[in-house]
């Protein structure tokens, strides 16, 4: 016997016969199974928090993190970082502004990542609320557990990246839309517009979720809100978004956003079209994906607007980012929450034999709990492995900190004379050097052609002349950039040899050599060069 009744009401505002409770009746589980689920929930929640905090600050920032933390420091008026990290750079600054409130002392890596981790944990809470709202408490609980331990979300929410808050607000938007559809109260739709605005303020690509919302309403003909309510929701969204253009206008930096958009639209792809297919499923968890898809088939009899809503918020970002030339590991993170809820729905709602007697159905419930534990284990193990620093000397952008980067930067801050200028292989290491080393650094690979470079970066039009003029005194080689661009790595070392480069500092990571022994592998080398 179902534990939850489904009360059907016809909603005047949305015009939909919406269920005030979960659409998929939760099958009866034995009290033991439910208790087991609660225990698993407690353990997994603790585990989710643990994997987001464990050794959170062991490895320093990666390039993107330095940019956002640097912006926050500049907003807070940090004199040392302000010359290197302009406040108005590329993205809106909701998260950076929030972080800046804690940066009035010093720019701490740990504090920034705690903010990111907090956003990650909040997302798990919203996933629970959304799962519960759509499919009942059990589904919400399982979805939150999957999200808590999902490597994709764990990895990104351990970093000071904008994609964590973006995912939080995108998930909140889904929740508020769901509340609107269920309750029919237009206030929820307006709030959803506001949450959508916050999604944009986290990162401008949040705008694509307007498309996701549109797709949902377009594909759900029974849900017909009044156009006026849509209009008000859009006005609310515009009001929430307004700080971004307003602050740019008042700072006279309107061209910054325009330049960045132009560059993003016309830049060359940074990864192949198969990038997401090869990297993201593994990070989300194959079991989660299988469960999400399987549930759509197995529970097809219970199909409702709920799946349309979730799939709209999965499909639109996937299509957009597959077409968008710039690809980043973390860009598809907002799809993780709806996928986790779909997977949670499957585990909580599917029973092999609904006509079975009560004891058998309870046993089936126990099996579902066991399955949940197994799936959680398939997520927890890779999460545990991926939160350890890389030992390969290569780092996928967005997948974690850069080993040795902070240490090299701090060595520079302590040792290299103030005002010295450095040349790195690429702009990523330049950002890290500027954040930790407080010295101007230029990426050799940054194109002098403004059409081919991020407008935030300055190019070295003639690095050879810069060294001869003594404008550059140090060269920084790093294995992470070298693994991505052998051409520029060779050019960089040519300058090292030409100008009597002398290695003055090396950062290493412990790696396993071909003979199986642990060896110190150089990842960053700083050379002093002289004209």
């Amino acid at each position: 016997m179902p534990t939850t009744t489904s009360t059907i009401t016809t909603n005047e505002t949305t015009g939909v016969a919406a269920s005030t409770r979960a659409a998929t009746p939760e099958p009866a589980w034995s009290p033991f199974a439910d208790r087991l689920l609660v225990v698993a929930a407690i353990l997994a929640t603790a585990g989710g928090v643990f994997v987001r905090l464990w050794h959170l600050n062991t490895v320093g920032f990666n390039s993107d993190e330095t940019v956002y933390a640097g912006q926050a420091a500049s907003i807070a008026g940090n004199v040392a970082l302000k010359p290197f990290f302009p406040i108005f750079r590329a993205h809106p600054m909701l998260f950076q502004t929030l972080l800046s409130t804690a940066y009035h002392g010093s720019a701490s890596d740990l504090v920034a990542r705690l903010f990111a981790a907090a956003a990650g944990v909040l997302t798990v809470v919203v996933v629970y609320a959304l799962g519960k709202l759509l499919y009942g408490r059990r589904a919400g609980l399982i979805a939150a557990l999957l999200m808590a331990l999902m490597p994709y979300h764990v990895i990104v929410s351990r970093q000071m990246l904008l994609d964590g808050p973006l995912t939080l607000f995108a998930t909140l938007t889904i929740y508020l839309i769901a509340r609107f559809v269920i309750s029919g109260r237009r206030t929820w739709l307006y709030a959803a517009g506001g949450a959508l605005g916050l999604t944009f303020l986290s990162k401008e690509v949040g705008l694509i979720f307007v498309g996701a919302g549109y797709a949902f309403f377009a594909l759900s003909p029974k849900i017909r809100p009044r156009w006026r309510d849509f209009g008000v929701a859009l006005v609310v969204m515009a009001a929430v978004v307004s700080p971004y253009p307003l602050s740019m206008v008042f700072a006279g930096r309107t061209h910054t956003g325009g330049q960045y958009l132009t560059w993003q639209l016309f830049r060359r792809p940074n990864h192949s079209v198969t990038f997401y297919a090869t990297h993201v499923p593994q990070a989300i968890g194959p079991a989660v994906l299988v469960l999400a898809v399987a549930g759509l088939w197995l529970l097809r009899r219970h199909k409702s607007w709920r799946e349309t809503l979730l799939l709209s918020f999965v499909g639109v970002p996937i299509v957009f980012f597959a077409l968008w030339p710039v690809k980043g590991f973390q860009y598809l993170l907002p799809t993780a929450a709806p996928l986790a809820i779909l997977a949670g729905r499957t585990l909580a709602g599917w029973v092999p034999d609904r006509s079975a007697d009560a004891p058998k159905r309870r046993r089936q419930g126990s099996v579902a709990v066991l399955m949940t534990v197994v799936v959680l284990a398939t997520l927890a193990v890779p999460s545990w492995h991926r939160i350890h620093p890389t030992r390969s000397g290569a780092v996928l952008a967005g997948s974690g900190g850069v080993p040795g980067g902070r240490e090299a930067g701090r060595w520079i801050a302590d040792t290299v004379p103030k005002g010295a200028e450095l040349m790195t292989l690429g702009p990523s290491m330049a950002n890290i050097i500027e954040f930790y080393g407080h010295r101007r650094a230029y990426g050799l690979s940054v194109s002098p052609n403004p059409l081919h470079r991020n407008p935030s970066y300055s190019a070295l039009s003639n690095p050879d002349l810069a060294i001869r003029n003594n404008d550059l005194q140090y060269i920084v080689w790093d294995s992470f950039s070298a693994s991505r661009s052998t051409f520029f790595a060779e050019k960089l070392l040519e300058f090292v040899h030409k100008y009597n480069g002398r290695a003055v500092h090396t950062e290493t990571v412990m790696a396993t050599g071909p003979d199986g022994r642990r060896v110190a592998k150089p990842v960053i080398t700083i050379y002093e060069v002289r004209p």
Partner: protein, 456 residues
């Protein structure tokens, strides 16, 4: 084995008795006698032809261009108007005359009103003399002035051109009544390098693009001819003919090698070539040269015990508002820029000690215990007040020759206010949603009759 010990003992004895070969050029500094200050390496450079007001007339805290300055176009016609100081920027300049005659007419018996008219009277563009540069063109010099020491009472030694002033720089005297190189050379007139040589103190004269074939016997035509003016030692027979002395005059590249090898001499004089900043030349090569020299000094082992001082040999015809004191028949001339960089230099000091190029001689003589060369250096003030030896050496700071990028300013109140409002809007709406839902539930609970049950 015993023979080795014997040879070593004899060698040690010879060294003790003073029979060791004279310190060759480039020998390491440890052989130098002790100094009175922590400065073991004093590097001096003489650039060309700019007045103090031309470079630092608008520098905050310095004795710069007075407000309301307007230089008459004519000494005789008051209706001809006047020229106010203006920012030269990237405008092309010419080499203004800077002879003793021009200096005297600009000074105009202390009236200081002939800076423009002297050129107008010669049908030249006199207003250019009132032009000045600032941080925009001289970011490196201005940054140095902000972090180290700028002298705003440094006068050129002679109210004339390059030769006299370079002679005062090395010999403490004009050397010749005419502001030009005597055809027979400078004879036995002592220089600071003779004093250093006598006491076995290491020294070198670094010359940019040095050509050993050019000297007073074989002067060069055109710009290369300036080598014998800017390196007065090349006007002495002994500094040309005696290898023990001539080997100390070396190309600038040796400076960088000496820094790398740790063989920077105790006293180093430097003469530029193309990077002299002599109008109408570009200022930037001069800034880059000095930046490179200072940067490399900062990166060397010599930095903690070094001082680098540079000045400009004459005023170049440019306006300067301070009437120079008359100390003898040669000078002083108008003020010129002068700066000091050292780990012991006071930080951001505008030093107003009255100095001239013989002040550099004075410091060398005081620091290494040498006799004065002439009356001028004997009476000169030393730049010692620009040092603070009570603290340890300062860590170096590099400066750029390009202006620092503009740091964005943001309205922080607006930023925080608008973002806070952005977060508040959906929060309030969601709160209203929750509140409304709870209120409706309460209303429904209140209106449900007991017999309807509680299955809501």
């Amino acid at each position: 084995m015993k023979s080795h010990r014997f040879i070593a003992a004899v060698a040690a004895g010879l060294v003790t008795l003073g029979f060791a070969p004279s310190a060759a050029a480039g020998s390491p500094a440890p052989a130098d006698p002790p100094t009175k200050t922590p400065i073991k390496h004093f590097v001096v450079l003489m650039q060309e032809n700019h007045s103090f007001d031309n470079y630092f007339g608008t520098f905050p805290g310095a004795d710069g261009i007075p407000a309301g300055t307007c230089m008459p176009n004519s000494r005789t016609d008051p209706k001809a108007g006047c020229v106010t100081p203006f920012h030269i920027g990237g405008k092309a300049i010419i080499d203004l005359d800077h002879t003793p005659t021009v200096s005297a007419r600009q000074l105009n018996h202390g009236k200081m009103d002939g800076f423009v008219s002297v050129f107008n009277e010669r049908n030249r563009e006199g207003s250019l003399a009132m032009g000045y540069y600032d941080q925009r063109e001289l970011p490196f010099y201005w940054d140095i002035a902000k972090k180290y020491v700028l002298f705003d009472k440094y006068f050129t030694s002679a109210a004339g051109g390059s030769f006299w002033n370079h002679m005062f720089w090395v010999a403490g005297t004009a050397g010749t009544p005419r502001d030009s190189i005597p055809s027979e050379g400078l004879g036995a007139l002592p220089t600071i390098f003779d004093r250093l040589q006598e006491k076995g103190i290491s020294w070198k004269f670094y010359v940019q693009n040095y050509d050993p074939k050019i000297n007073f016997r074989h002067p060069a035509e055109g710009d290369r001819g300036s080598q014998t003016v800017w390196v007065p030692l090349l006007d002495y027979a002994r500094f040309i003919d005696d290898p023990a002395l001539s080997s100390h005059i070396v190309d600038m590249s040796q400076y960088y090698k000496d820094l790398r090898d740790g063989t920077l001499p105790a006293v180093a004089y430097v003469a530029p070539s193309g990077a002299s900043e002599h109008p109408p030349g570009d200022l930037q090569p001069g800034q880059r040269l000095i930046r490179t020299m200072i940067t490399e000094l900062m990166r060397s082992s010599a930095w903690p015990s070094s001082a680098f001082m540079w000045a400009y040999d004459d005023w170049g015809g440019w306006y300067d508002h301070v009437a120079p004191p008359q100390v003898d028949k040669y000078g002083y001339g108008f003020r010129a820029p002068s700066l000091l960089v050292s780990p012991y230099a006071r930080q951001g000091q505008v030093n107003s000690t009255q100095l001239d190029s013989t002040s550099m001689l004075k410091f060398i003589e005081d620091n290494w215990g040498l006799r004065p060369l002439a009356e001028r250096d004997a009476k000169a003030n030393s730049p010692i007040s620009a040092f603070d030896f009570s603290k340890g050496p300062r860590a170096p700071t590099f400066f750029s020759t390009v202006p620092a990028p503009h740091v964005q300013r943001a309205n922080h109140g607006l930023l925080y206010g608008t973002y806070a409002a952005a977060v508040a809007i959906p929060t309030l709406l969601a709160g209203a949603g929750f509140f409304g839902a709870r209120r409706r539930r309460r209303v429904r609970l209140a209106t449900v009759r007991p017999d309807e049950g509680g299955n809501i």
